[in-house]
């Protein structure tokens, strides 16, 4: 399998089949973000390990650009298949989406957004587009666009909260931070209001409870996004631990055992 990745984009008839530069650059940027995202997912690294060298370009309509993955400086190379693993994974996820299957569990909403932006604009910005690597070829057509939109479609919403470590924040562009819960999803995107910047900065690296409108997708059990209304740091009181609470209230349930006490409480509800 070739490591080379070729993108072909055909412009719309009203542009005589040519592609608008701004649109082209934006699409290539989304491709790069998607490739970097896959790189991080495969390597479980914070930073991508690969860069992409332009090794060929053609403008014979469709415009075509061929990229060769190369290692970034000072990265740990996993093995001789380091690049191949990422390349394979990138195309397998693209093909899953194109087939209408679910992508792998570790493909988060952010990565799906890059796939969506890569494919949007068919008919207005471009007439057709394709990504290939010699043995795989995926059309970025209407089917792909609809499938990725469905994956991103937020089916349900409810007011509620989530707890997690506030570890990443984006203060530029879309104002977003991510919390990393102890269980459930690896991370949850939290969109916040402009007035919350200082509060977020102060709580970076802390365990917080975030409340707001939670958005769910049809195939996920956990919130994929929260429109944040409130953020509260969870106090870490080192003097109180679950361990230290043993026997602290011997008369908590009077003469009753804990089980009897709870049974009585619940009987009252019926």
């Amino acid at each position: 399998m070739s490591d080379l990745i070729t993108v072909q984009i055909e412009g719309t008839p009203d542009q005589d089949g040519h592609v608008i530069l701004a649109d082209f650059l934006q699409r290539i940027d989304q491709l790069l973000q998607a490739l970097n995202g896959i790189d991080r997912v495969v390597g479980q690294t914070e930073r991508p390990t690969l860069n992409y060298r332009i090794v060929d370009t053609k403008h014979t309509s469709p415009i075509s650009i061929t990229l060769k993955p190369v290692f970034r400086k000072n990265v740990i190379i996993e093995g001789s298949d380091h690049i191949e693993k990422r390349n394979k994974r990138f195309f397998s996820e693209l093909k899953s989406i194109r087939r209408g299957d679910l992508p792998s569990d570790d493909i988060d909403e952010n990565l799906l957004m890059h796939f969506r932006r890569l494919s949007e604009g068919l008919g207005t910005d471009y007439a057709s587009a394709k990504i290939s690597n010699g043995s795989n070829s995926v059309e970025l057509d209407r089917v792909f666009e609809v499938n990725v939109q469905q994956l991103l479609h937020e089916e349900d919403r409810s007011y509620g909260g989530e707890e997690g470590m506030l570890l990443a924040v984006n203060l530029h562009g879309r104002q977003t931070f991510w919390i990393y819960p102890k269980i459930g999803p690896t991370k949850i995107r939290c969109d916040f209001q402009p007035g919350m910047r200082d509060e977020i900065r102060e709580n970076l690296g802390r365990f917080v409870r975030v409340e707001g409108l939670k958005f769910f997708r049809s195939h996920t059990s956990f919130a994929v996004r929260i429109a944040v209304k409130d953020l509260t740091p969870i106090q870490e009181d080192s003097s109180i631990t679950l361990k230290s609470l043993r026997g602290i209230a011997p008369q908590a349930t009077g003469e009753l055992s804990a089980a009897e006490f709870v049974r009585n409480l619940r009987d009252e509800w019926e």
């Binding site: 819960p181 009181d237 609470l245 026997g247």
Partner: protein, 85 residues
């Protein structure tokens, strides 16, 4: 203990909390089971989850000033997650 590092998740109902707060004797196997869960939780290997209902039921019990509200105050440090349905 973030980003799903916890290996095991265990649900604690109200009576388990109350038994722990009381230091109740429920027989060796139950006592040891609860203590073991607390130890594993302390080591970061086990996450104990519970619900808001547990919190309200625990607060129905006669708690000392020290123990009052503790189920709410220990989550972050002690790996207890409260679900608010």
């Amino acid at each position: 203990m973030s980003g799903n590092e916890v290996k095991r998740v265990l649900y604690w109902d109200t009576c388990v909390y109350l038994a722990w707060l009381k230091g109740e004797d429920n027989g060796a196997s139950v006592n040891e089971g609860i203590a073991e869960a607390v130890d594993e939780n302390w080591d970061g290997k086990l996450l104990i989850v519970t619900s808001t209902i547990t919190l309200t039921e625990v607060l129905e019990a006669t708690l000392t000033d020290e123990s009052q509200g503790t189920p709410l105050s220990v989550p972050a440090r002690d790996g207890v997650k409260v679900y608010h349905p």
